[in-house]
Symmetry: C2
Subunit: 355 residues, 2 copies
DNA sequence: CTTGGCACTCGAGGTCCGAGAGTGCCAGAG
DNA sequence: CTCTGGCACTCTCGGACCTCGAGTGCCAAG
């Protein structure tokens, strides 16, 4: 099929998308005639619409309804017709300050990001954390916080801090813990978490008797601290209620399926997986390789970086009918903002150390 | 109105509730006649049902439908008719191990608890964290984790650990930080967070010039670390999608309102507030002082303890039509389990220190 | 190539009706 | 006095039917 539509056809297609995105309803030739001055009568517009329908860009829900853009039309629109809108400056500020308010806590950071996505785009927002396996461990510290509780502070490349409280049977002195911290950081720092885990297992098995009892215990603690997280903990979804406001999800049965599918984080994760590699921002429409299992859902997603090789993903999920020129920049803004935060670049928001 | 129903009326009411909870549909005299052997004909059952209707225990959606229990009926059922079911032993184990997997992180603990509530009760689960104002600070520690990042570890009574990464302009040595930690813990340990905040402000204002520059900075850090959390961070809601499966919320408009209302955490919090004081487990039906703004929603809630004076709340929200004998014990189980965890009592799940 | 006109199609919404489910009440039996 | 079968009554649900209006497709004339 030739994708080369003439100028008039493009203008009409663009207008149909604009109106349909706005109203959510099928667009008729009459509406088009009135809404915008093409200098053409409804009949002529109908002819062009018929061509667009033949070309696979439009469909009609039934004979006597207007036309609705197909996924193909959206694809064409996104690739060729659309001009991005600049994001408002105060939006950047809001994003930066909201992310800053997570205060270095990685979980809250991802949560804040997905919440922002949901709020700003008016759709379901999600963030997929980078795969922890390839994260590089920088240091590991133990801190005794209460008689049988030890705080394990794990610092990953690039200065991402994860801390975790472990309960212990044995009691440790702070000096012991500091020695152990230093030793472990020396032994395992610079390795990826996957390597650390493997090496820990080997070392624990091997040095059973030989080694110092204390370090053996410390390795045990480290192992417990580094236990790999459930897949559910790698994916953050917020704003699922937003779907209720979209007319395309007004029937309960659809909603039921879709909302329940958001609860199955593990499957979502595997669906998203293939897009991790994709550079830049992509729009995945339902009819294409589906990000979600439901063809009615589509996604706008982009990747973000955290350190040298680590990438995660974030984006929004909603109906294909969305304001792309507004939504795409929002997703990209959050991608950049999250990368900046994770790589330790200061956001341009004012920040004082004292008081 | 006299609440003293004769034995037969009680039996019938109980059976009506049983059947209605099971099916979700209005119950007819015929169904009752067939389902259970009362030794009475449908006509007689109808007479009793008419009495129960007069007494305000039953209503009919319309003339030719069966009867549906009113909130009053549920109240009577809960107070007088119901016998709790024992929770299965493996349920306790699941709860304990799931809560243990949060690994001392208070946020994840509350999240896990509300998720468990949602899952086990098949309704919306929620946890309200204790009001941080009255929490007693035990110690405050600083740990340098990266050039301009400091981990602030705050230990509250009873050994609840909260840690937070702060970014700083100035660079601190670990020795400085340790001195500051000791000093701050000495000065502010044992006070409630509210007192700490006030005292910090006073001290910062007063000793402007006099005091050591280092401690002044440390106080600034402490203040940033203890900034009070947004109300949204005190309330954890999980499993909102569960409502989709309840036939009483099958129309989209209701769902829209209800699900959106769950997103407004701040208002939820204020609605829950009054039940914090209530001892034991209570069932709040929609027609009574509403926990939620919608009279169709009802809640089963209980409080849990964390330390001497601190109490929080947890429970489930759903339609009044629920299996009380099963749901109430679940809520109580989680209340106990959460108290145990927070007060440092070991749950009876096996736990080894090493390996 | 454009346009007004016109016949055609199809869904939305209203009305009507019959079937079925339940009830309330009554009169008669135990 | 209580229980029960019988019966009339009510009300919802679903299907059949109809009309209205929106939109289209096509054609013939400009």
């Amino acid at each position: 099929m030739n994708k080369t539509l003439d100028t008039r056809a493009r203008a009409i297609l663009r207008e149909i998308i604009r109106v349909h995105v706005d109203t959510g309803l099928p667009v008729s030739s009459r509406t088009l005639f009135k809404s915008s001055r093409f200098g053409l009568s409804p009949a002529s517009i109908r002819n062009i619409m018929a061509d667009l329908t033949d070309g696979g860009f439009l469909t009609q829900p039934h004979t006597s309804a207007g036309r609705v853009p197909t996924d193909r039309a959206y694809r064409f629109y996104i690739d060729e017709l659309m001009r991005h809108r600049k994001v408002a400056f105060d939006l950047r500020e809001q994003v930066d300050s909201d992310l800053a308010s997570a205060g270095g806590d990685i979980t809250r950071l991802f949560q804040a990001a997905s919440r922002l996505l949901a709020e700003l785009a008016g759709e379901v927002g999600f963030v997929v954390a980078p795969d922890a396996l390839h994260t590089v461990l920088k240091s590991l510290r133990f801190l005794s916080v209460a008689p049988h509780k030890i705080l394990v502070v794990q610092v990953n490349e690039p200065d991402v801090v994860i801390s975790r409280v472990l309960e212990t049977d044995v009691e440790y002195s702070q000096t012991e813990l500091e020695a152990a911290s230093a030793q472990l950081t020396r032994d395992y720092g610079g390795l990826t978490l996957e390597q650390v885990r493997r090496k820990l297992l080997e070392d624990l098995a091997e040095e059973r008797a030989a080694c110092d009892r204390m370090f053996e215990r410390a390795r045990g603690l480290a192992q417990r601290a580094l236990e790999r997280h459930e897949p559910e903990e790698r994916i953050y979804v917020e704003g699922t209620a937003q779907l209720l406001d979209k007319p395309e999800f007004s029937d309960v049965e659809t909603l039921r399926k879709v909302l329940h599918s958001f609860d199955e984080k593990a499957r979502l994760l595997s669906l998203f997986a293939r897009y991790l590699e994709a550079p830049g921002t992509c729009v995945v429409l339902g009819s294409e390789h589906a990000v979600t299992e439901d063809p009615r859902l589509s996604a706008v997603l982009t990747s973000y970086r955290s350190g040298e090789t680590l990438t995660g993903m974030l984006g929004v999920i909603g109906p294909a009918r969305r304001e792309y020129p507004r939504v795409i920049p929002v997703v990209e803004l959050l991608g950049r903002a999250l990368s900046d935060r994770l790589e330790g670049r200061e956001a341009p928001v004012s920040k004082t150390d004292e008081e």
